[in-house]
Amino acid sequence: MWAALSLALAGYLAARLLGPDKTVFLPGATTSGHHQIELVCGVCHQDAFGGGPVLQDACINCHGAELAAADDSHPQAKFTDPRNADRLRDIDARQCIACHVEHRPDITGAMGVTLPVDFCISCHAGVGEERPTHAGLDHMTCQTAGCHNFHDNRALYEDFLLRHVGEAPVRATPRRPQPVLPVAGDDLNALRLAQLDAPADRAQDAAITADWAHSAHARGGVNCTACHAPAGEPWQDRPGTAVCAECHQPQVQGFLAGKHGMRLAQDLPAMTPAQARLPMHAAAAHSELSCASCHRPHAYDTARAAVQACLSCHDDSHTRAYEGSPHHRLWLAEQAGEAPPGSGVSCASCHMPLRTHTDAQGKRTHTEHNQNATLRPNEKMLRPVCLNCHGLPFALDALADPALIERNFRGQPAQHVRSVEMAQENLERDRRRRAAEQ
């Protein structure tokens, strides 16, 4: 009887292990950061079947570059010094998993942190003595929006705050940065309809060829076979992201790093809205995410990709509140030619902002296609996004107001974050001390 039951159980588990649905082996629900790839156990665990310890390198492989770019305030190297041995007994901050334990939904808080929210106290208990502005604060609010982050404080450090004292809520000329496009204005390489090089049986859809003829691809000399039969390969009707990456490397890299492309990055079938944890439109449930899902093949309308593409899948309250919001009204005015270029705010303006990179042709811009890069903690959005149009004190308040964000910034922030004033008070304290010394 027991043997038979054991055999049956073993058989069932073996079938689940070898089959497509391995969820039975998950020790607990995975965080929203990793759930899309939770069944590729070997990405994080030493053992491909999920056994063995989680590898520090696994965390760094995906998140290391972003941490380095963020001037990580608490890099591993700060904790390896033996003088910190006593601190490591409380929190072994040399390991990412000391603070971010996976599969523990019962203790997982914001940003996937599995420590009590007042964990900063372990090392910074005396901050009130060195900074009177912090006296009496209970360490429950260190990481409240607008004050500090553990890793990324590029928009929160004291001297940065001091540079933005007294700024108005909206700048005199609020503008998004404008792209530096690679296609030259004189269109020297421009191709015309008659020059398209697809085999005759593949180039019969007049709408497609007309779209192409009007695209930046045609203007830049990118013919049909450049994507559909690259480097003499056989014709493929639906070129994959790798083909796009031949020319659009930083964009594809960002896409594969974010929620839209992270499954493709692990060689899994593409992400679909049906697998998402955020509310999505039922009609879009089974759309597969690739470059072509937001950028229609051949037309490549970036304005559509910046708003309509998002709205066609996402159906949460922040998204639903976008149409008719102040940002959306500005976007419509810009699209209608009634307002200057860069004055509108699309979904992508905030969630996929412009970045600068340097390649063989010099300084260029690209759209950050990792939608997560500026999302959480949301102060990451301040420098690349908010501060283009808004003053820092207002932007800090707005980002610290979840209800305002849910309404897609209709109205004013409900509370005021005192970070800038606290920085001023600290500066003033130093002035008083020096005056007293003289």
Partner: protein, 195 residues
């Protein structure tokens, strides 16, 4: 202690240190015939660290910022498109060494640290920092146990070698001390070698 990996490592440091003068008065550097003593190893490492940082402070920061006024040095060097501060240059080096899993570690600390995390923390650090501040020209050597491991710990005075050191620290809004003068002991370098 196992001297072989240390000796290999020290050979690199010694080669570089050979031409650099060790300004601190290192007493009895007992070199055993079989290898290099932890103290000699620490002294050699410190000679390289101190020399490199003095070169950076005098020839780069003090010359370009204080004498020629062509570029500033700033704590926020990335945002300010400025030179890295000498203390940061030292700390980034220490962090890079830590990333390489080198067998030794080092840090810059002070009884008057701008960043309170750089104040002495262990008993050896506290005693060493106080000793080098009060006994100019002398180093402090001891052994300590941290996290169950035994270390040879050496503390060397960190002296204001250029006007830039003094002005920057005296003027910083978070400095606990505003009366540093050229040549003052401003802090100390702590080097630890596992035994």
């Amino acid at each position: 202690m196992s001297l072989r990996p240390l000796a290999r490592l020290a050979a690199v440091g010694l080669a570089a240190a050979a031409t650099a003068a060790c300004t601190s008065g290192s007493d009895s550097s007992s070199e055993a015939a079989s290898g290099i003593s932890p103290q000699m190893m620490a002294d050699s490492l410190h000679a390289v660290m101190e020399s490199d940082r003095t070169v950076y402070t005098r020839l780069i920061v003090n010359r370009l910022q204080n004498e020629l006024g062509v570029i500033e040095a700033s704590e926020h060097w990335k945002d300010d498109k400025a030179l890295v501060l000498p203390a940061q240059m030292f700390r980034y080096g220490a962090e890079m060494v830590a990333e390489k899993n080198a067998p030794f570690s080092y840090s810059l600390q002070s009884l008057w640290a701008v960043n309170k995390q750089n104040e002495p923390k262990t008993d050896a650090e506290k005693a060493g920092l106080a000793f080098v501040a009060e006994n100019k020209g002398q180093n402090y050597y001891t052994e300590e146990t941290l996290g169950g491991k035994k270390y040879f710990t050496a503390v060397y005075a960190d002296v204001a070698v250029a006007p830039a050191c003094v002005t920057c620290h005296n003027d910083h809004k978070d400095t606990p001390r505003t009366d540093f003068k050229l040549g003052d002991v401003m802090g100390g370098v702590v080097i630890r070698i596992p035994l």
